[in-house]
């Protein structure tokens, strides 16, 4: 570990656990943090993008939370049972929970949220619900989910952002998207919505009637809207902002900011999502249709350089299709190390004739742009004729949706389980125009389809493991996409903000337990 920042992080993490144990939490205080970009709205379940999740995750709640090791722990569900055949899940709800408007939270809310609200509005919930045969409220505080067949990752699906509980009494029978309460979200969480000055700030205040005794400690949280990265950094420096969620400052600023006095850094709090950056390679046509070309690309890229220079040494250079946080990862595969010689050999072997290959950067800020430049230069140096196509988010979506690209940057969430976040990239029945999130590269392999499908419904886990091992071997050889980086997203905060990150979704629900040592 030659990287000073990485050292700092582990030291901070250590300090964090010890102090947390040593001190008693103090009540009061308001934390100022940042949301970037400004979210389109705050009704989680209706909108699932990152800025909405990070703010509204403190207003709304799900049935379960997950530790940083992705173990489920209670939230609105106090406990749960799984039947032996893996098809019936019974959730026992807390009894003293009230919505922010005072109405009690009941099993009917759960059934409405899952069966009506999410089925209509929420594509990621829909993906899980297709395995669900029925949802029933057996009494006021018990809900039973019956699956059509066993579904390994089912228990991982109840995170607040993905499977939000919404109030039935306000939404049932209405036009959800034009519901008058959308402007004033009502949840069960530790904080209540106070007001939103567009372009400036979103303010949350403490929910005094929160069911967990003593929580939250904070009086409120202000989410500032500052569109320029440089200004956000300045705001953190001069003390206006206490917490910088990951992705709100450019990576280049992080070493400087983290070296300031009284600043702590943590890389935790992203385990649930495990963002994984990949390079789409169009398997359908052009040089990228050739396996050897794709392998050459893997060998040509200096991913360690990118990790060290662009990502400040945070994150991991991945081995293969399964990230290190993913369950069932096979870590015995031979890594694609930086080896331009090997890349040139492969290109020669396939007879690459210098045909132009375009590269589409991810329009998410400077780091991604620089990364595309670095990859472009890496590829040029092994003799690939690369041209970068600049674009904005709209153009990026359009090109990927139309398969109009050769190489393209992206990153995807892994959601802990291969069946939730990984298989979608490689399954051939997931090939469809119009979405940048499915099998965009156009990889088709019947054996891979078979293995993934079997593994998703296999029971118990040992069976799944064997199936996933074979899949990983095939994918490793075929390189349907380039595996760039398991992204390390650091959260920066004043060290006197305590107990900030305590679950696998980090800040998305972090203020529940946070307190100020001031």
């Amino acid at each position: 570990m030659r990287d000073p920042l990485a050292l700092a992080i582990s030291a901070a993490a250590l300090a964090f656990t010890t102090t947390a144990l040593a001190d008693d939490p103090k009540q009061g205080g308001t934390v100022n943090t940042i949301v970037q970009p400004e979210p389109p709205g705050l009704v989680l379940g209706m909108i699932q993008n990152a800025p909405t999740r990070v703010v509204a995750g403190n207003i709304y709640e799900g049935l379960l939370r997950y530790t940083t090791d992705l173990e489920p722990i209670p939230q609105l569900a106090e406990s749960w049972d799984v039947s032996d055949d893996g098809r019936t899940y019974t959730f026992h709800l807390r009894e003293n929970v009230a919505w922010h408007d005072g109405e009690p939270f009941t099993a009917d809310d759960v059934v409405f949220s899952a069966d009506v609200f999410h089925r209509e509005l929420n594509p990621s919930a829909r993906a899980v619900l297709q395995h669900v045969e029925s949802i029933e409220a057996t009494d006021e505080h018990t809900v039973v989910f019956t699956l059509t067949e066993p579904f390994g990752p089912f228990l991982l699906s109840f995170e607040a952002g993905t499977f939000t509980m919404v109030p039935e009494h306000l939404y049932a029978g209405t036009d959800f998207r034009n519901n008058e309460h959308n402007d004033h979200p009502i949840g069960t969480g530790p904080f209540k919505f106070a007001n939103w000055e567009r372009g400036t700030v979103i303010k949350l205040v403490k929910n005094d009637d929160y069911y967990e005794e003593g929580l939250p400690y904070l009086d409120g949280v202000n989410w500032h809207v500052i569109p320029d990265g440089g200004s956000r950094a300045v705001a953190f420096e001069n003390g206006t902002i206490d917490v910088l969620p990951s992705g709100t400052v450019e990576n280049f600023d992080i070493p400087r900011l983290s070296e300031m006095d009284n600043v702590c850094v943590t890389e935790e709090g992203h385990e649930y999502f495990s963002p994984y950056s990949m390079l789409w390679m169009n398997n359908r046509e052009g040089p990228t249709a050739d396996k050897r070309f794709r392998q050459a690309v893997m060998y040509a890229m200096d991913r360690e350089f990118a990790r060290n220079v662009l990502w400040n040494g945070l994150g991991k250079v991945p081995l293969s299709a399964f990230g290190s946080n993913a369950r069932f990862q096979d870590d015995t595969l031979e890594p694609y190390d930086y080896n331009p010689e090997r890349a040139r050999e492969l290109l020669e072997e396939m007879g690459y004739d210098g045909e132009e290959v375009t590269i589409l950067p991810l329009p998410y800020g400077e780091t991604w742009t620089r990364w595309a430049e670095a990859v472009q230069q890496n590829l040029r140096e092994v003799g690939i004729n690369v041209r970068t196509q600049a674009t904005d988010v709209g153009g990026w979506n359009q090109r990927l949706g139309d398969w109009d690209y050769d190489l393209a940057f992206t990153y995807l969430y892994q959601y802990g389980d291969p069946a939730l976040g990984i298989s979608r990239t490689y399954l051939s029945d997931n090939i469809a125009k119009g979405s940048p999130w499915n099998n965009v590269e156009g990889y088709e392999n019947a054996r891979v389809d078979e293995l993934f499908n079997e593994a998703a419904t296999a029971y118990p886990d040992s069976e799944r493991e064997a199936l996933y091992k074979e899949v990983q071997e095939i994918l490793h050889e075929d390189v349907p996409v380039g595996w760039l980086m398991e992204l390390g997203f650091p959260t920066l905060y004043r060290c006197d903000v305590k107990d900030l990150v305590n679950s696998s979704v980090g800040l998305n629900e972090g203020f529940r337990d946070a307190w100020l040592d001031r």
Partner: protein
């Protein structure tokens, strides 16, 4: 009466121009790759076809283009600008919420640049061939040639980071809970850097223009007449030279004033000023057509309004064009 008729006539023309602008912009925006539904789906991090179809149907994007155009134009005719796709809020409300900040910023910058530019320009004109005059013009040229955003970045670095005199970003101190005079003071403090940055460039233009215009005016016969009366040079400069030299400035100022809404995108971005320019840039990135078109409509309307105001001011300043069109 004359003015009233003139204004009515100009407004009537303005309506037609605005109508054409709406149509042109509408068609222009359709050329952009990607649509709002895809972007919203993209932001959500996951989407299936059903989700996209739902969005497109809701926004009316599944209709043929002429139907969309007709709907939009007939909406505008009823002064209904529709809803922002991304934010789900009426476009009109969004614009009205952001407009004051933009007008405050650009209006201040406008006044600073106009007043200081005219003063500096007159000083330079009076000091032709003297070192002090040359220094003023050299400075003006440097301000003119420096990229605006660069000045913005550097001024944040110097005045906010190193000196810590002024806030680096934002409209007011969030969470400070100021009211009344304290709030005004707070906003004013936040205003200084962005307004000054924005003003520098235009100030340079006004300085150069005032000087040229004054040197031109000083050559005119009536200045000789004034001198023959035995008037003091200071009075001649102010009453005869400057007044006539200001006429072309009025035209330029009118043009600049009209561009106020869209002219501050860079400044608003760097200084996190919650204005229209930033909203526009975000709307563009999000393909939030309704919002973008609404902003275009408002900024075009503002341009037209300022054109009319400029005309009227010009008429007040120059008695010769009374009645002429």
């Amino acid at each position: 009466m004359l003015y009233a008729r003139l204004i009515i006539m100009r407004l009537f023309k303005a309506v037609i121009v605005l109508f054409l602008i709406v149509i042109l912009n509408f068609l222009l925006i359709q050329l952009a790759p990607g649509d709002p539904a895809a972007i919203l789906a993209g932001e959500a991090g996951a989407a299936d076809q059903e989700f996209l179809n739902q969005l497109r149907e809701r926004f009316g994007l599944d209709q043929p283009m002429y139907v969309q155009l007709w709907r939009y134009v007939s909406g505008i005719a009823m002064l209904d600008f529709g809803y922002s796709y991304r934010l789900g809020v009426p476009v009109f409300d969004l614009i009205m919420a952001r407009l004051p900040a933009t007008l405050l910023l650009t209006g201040t910058a406008f006044l600073i640049s106009l007043v200081l530019g005219i003063i500096a320009g007159s000083m330079a004109a009076a000091r032709v061939k003297k070192p002090s005059g040359s220094i003023i013009m050299a400075l003006a040229l440097v301000f003119y040639a420096t990229p605006l955003f660069w000045v913005a970045l550097m001024s944040v670095l110097v005045f906010s980071v190193y000196l810590d005199w002024l806030p680096a970003y934002g409209f007011y101190t969030v969470g400070a809970g100021y009211t009344g005079f304290a709030l005004i003071l707070d906003v004013a403090k936040h205003l200084i850097l962005p307004a000054t940055t924005l003003a520098l460039f235009f100030m340079a233009i006004y300085t150069r223009m005032t000087r040229t215009s004054m040197l031109d005016a000083a050559q005119q016969d009536y200045v000789k007449t004034a001198r023959a009366k035995g008037l003091k040079p200071s009075i001649i400069q102010r009453r005869h030279v400057l007044r006539n030299a200001l006429l072309p400035i009025i035209t330029l100022a009118g043009l600049q004033a009209g561009q106020m809404v869209g002219g501050a995108i860079l400044t608003e971005t760097v200084f996190a000023w919650p204005g229209i320019g930033r909203l526009m840039f975000e709307a563009l990135q999000q393909r939030d057509y309704n919002l973008l078109l609404g902003i275009f409509f408002f900024s075009a309307a503002l341009v037209i309004v300022f054109n009319i105001i400029t005309d009227l001011v010009y008429r007040l300043a120059d008695p010769r064009i009374k009645g002429a069109s």
